[in-house]
Symmetry: none
Subunit: 214 residues, 4 copies
Amino acid sequence: MARPHASREARELRIAQLLDAAIALWLEQPEKVPRVEEVARNAGLAKGTVYLYFRCKEDLLLAAHERHVHAFFDALIERSSCPGTMTFEDVMRLVFLHIVEVAAFLPLATLVAGLMHKGISPEASASFNDRISERLMVAGELLGRHFSLGSPEGGVRILMRSYALILGLWQLLGSGKPICTSEKVSAMMLPGYASELEAALTALWNGTMGKEIQ
Amino acid sequence: MARPHASREARELRIAQLLDAAIALWLEQPEKVPRVEEVARNAGLAKGTVYLYFRCKEDLLLAAHERHVHAFFDALIERSSCPGTMTFEDVMRLVFLHIVEVAAFLPLATLVAGLMHKGISPEASASFNDRISERLMVAGELLGRHFSLGSPEGGVRILMRSYALILGLWQLLGSGKPICTSEKVSAMMLPGYASELEAALTALWNGTMGKEIQ
Amino acid sequence: MARPHASREARELRIAQLLDAAIALWLEQPEKVPRVEEVARNAGLAKGTVYLYFRCKEDLLLAAHERHVHAFFDALIERSSCPGTMTFEDVMRLVFLHIVEVAAFLPLATLVAGLMHKGISPEASASFNDRISERLMVAGELLGRHFSLGSPEGGVRILMRSYALILGLWQLLGSGKPICTSEKVSAMMLPGYASELEAALTALWNGTMGKEIQ
Amino acid sequence: MARPHASREARELRIAQLLDAAIALWLEQPEKVPRVEEVARNAGLAKGTVYLYFRCKEDLLLAAHERHVHAFFDALIERSSCPGTMTFEDVMRLVFLHIVEVAAFLPLATLVAGLMHKGISPEASASFNDRISERLMVAGELLGRHFSLGSPEGGVRILMRSYALILGLWQLLGSGKPICTSEKVSAMMLPGYASELEAALTALWNGTMGKEIQ
DNA sequence: AATGAATGAGGTTTCATTCAT
DNA sequence: CATGAATGAAACCTCATTCAT
């Protein structure tokens, strides 16, 4: 009847504020999931406002995670859309820049993986999956143009495997209290998450492509 | 002399009962972490009794997870201690038998990864790490005798990478609500967690060993 | 000159729409008080607009109740203004027509009774009382002309007593979950709200008039 | 297995404490329903403890109301069990002593009537009805021995009608902001709730018994 | 050792009301 | 006048943990 009070931009601004606040709080205190009230307050909003934009706290966390994933995919898609060659090194650079070095990415991904079964609403879960799948396929297809990955869906598969390795290794080695690292083991051999990840991804790609990459 | 011994056996019996109960409940309702009271009741004990054996609920879940991991390592160590050759196929068989096909293993591992940051007591975390590391090193060393893994610590590394892939892929594909699977993607290419895992592990091992395995 | 008039008509139209919507929603879901937003939306208005017409939600509910009461009194006054006799049967007919058979009347009256202590603004309460009292006195006076009720205020008193009985009995017997009725009691004797009400009112009138009515 | 920690007496003590606290708070601030936390705190207990004894707040309020009703019925049953005559005056005395003069009785009854549709759990509602019905029948039967009430169920009916009148009149006249009393009306005739109630009950009983009582 | 009543922090959600537009 | 996004108080309930017995 009257003018739409909430323009799309305003809406997206609010959401961005909330996600920013959630991630900031999460980084401040990685040992605890931020409370809705804190998130709202940090975003300069009131608690109830959160529920105008998200059905529940878990959906908000999922949205924060989605933003991380989108940023990575967008960068990957952009890079692999460039004319000219793309090397494994280029991919690794993007992985480190948009995943490993984004402090909140992997802890949040881990949390979301645990939450997926619990609080996230089916709708949010489904639409998240849709949007991620979309990008996954686009990126996979583009990747297939730069690397000989055997089959049409090879790009999608190497992406999933790579991400699985990135996430799984982080859960073993990269988190504050690594599950599988005592002094003994780490003293013995482990050069830390970052370099082990690099080696592991290299091995995975070599093995997937059936030859030395590049 | 007899008393502390009997006590200790009784103690371990109690603990086993509790872990059994926790896993049974977890499998009944995978969408929610069982409550302490339920676990205790299902183990034939009272709520308060749990806290005689575990400092907190998270420690209990970690112990349940540890039992899963131990069972895998024990089988792997036993198999790789056998004289004669061991093939990649043998390893895969153990992976499926003690990890993939143990329904509670990967969801619990995912939950524990998410909890590691939060509730688990430092002591429990440290001793878990110690015990797992111990087995990891033993198994890694034995594995090195069967496969040419480049370096002394090669066995440990391939084990960690493999487990990372198993866990990471499960979080993407294997859980009830797969994070990265929509109809589109899965229709296109994904033959399901089990076979994708097998392919991915094969690639990883090939890539790590620098040649076709076997 | 024309403007305020038109305004006022528009105003009363709005109010009627709101009360209609409130009662309609109330009847749809008698177990819960309708929310302001629902009422507004059902009246074709926006939430905030309600507060241009009512100080608070309770005042709106009171107004809806008042409309019910007015309808009854108007009918009673009209009937008792007619030349000729009026019998107890006539009164009962009006009671059933305008109270018992108006589905929302008694539940709303019950709710308003509970709310009277809480949210209703003193102003709304006072003006409600004024308007009702006005009609009560007129109707009481007219009633006194048809029945020998002892004293000048006898009409008012029999009206109040009757309404008290109607309302109180409804709360005991007539609501969905009758407070004082189990199978045992109701099986034993209760023919239901309507006929018990008729019997009770008859008794009350007989007792008040000191003789068999009519 | 171990001793029953909570004896029946302890349980009933807790419940009594909670009901006492709820009624005390209700009387302090009749304009608002006490909060669960306040009730608990006033009973010397913690919030969560309330939920060991009541499924929800409404069930607690219903229990408080039930205690009022029981006290009245118990007194009535005791009195009417006495050998010798019982007069209408005796009944009135009990009505005033256990209902009208118990400050929280009628407001709470009004609130519960409004709540009956909303929050009260079906189980609580049903068992309340059962227990009240039980007493209602016993009391009704005993009453029938003292008064000629026409039929076997006459006692039950006169009790219900009387209570309906007591409650309904209170909602019109007795509450702080009487619905149907403005200065005009009350100045004109109303001697207040108590005496109007007495007159109305007398009329009702006379009318029900078909003659002047006693 | 075992119990389970009691605790109370923690978190979610609703919804009447306000106010800038 | 009308709007509806924003507010934030209000309330509920759960459940891990403690502790007196």
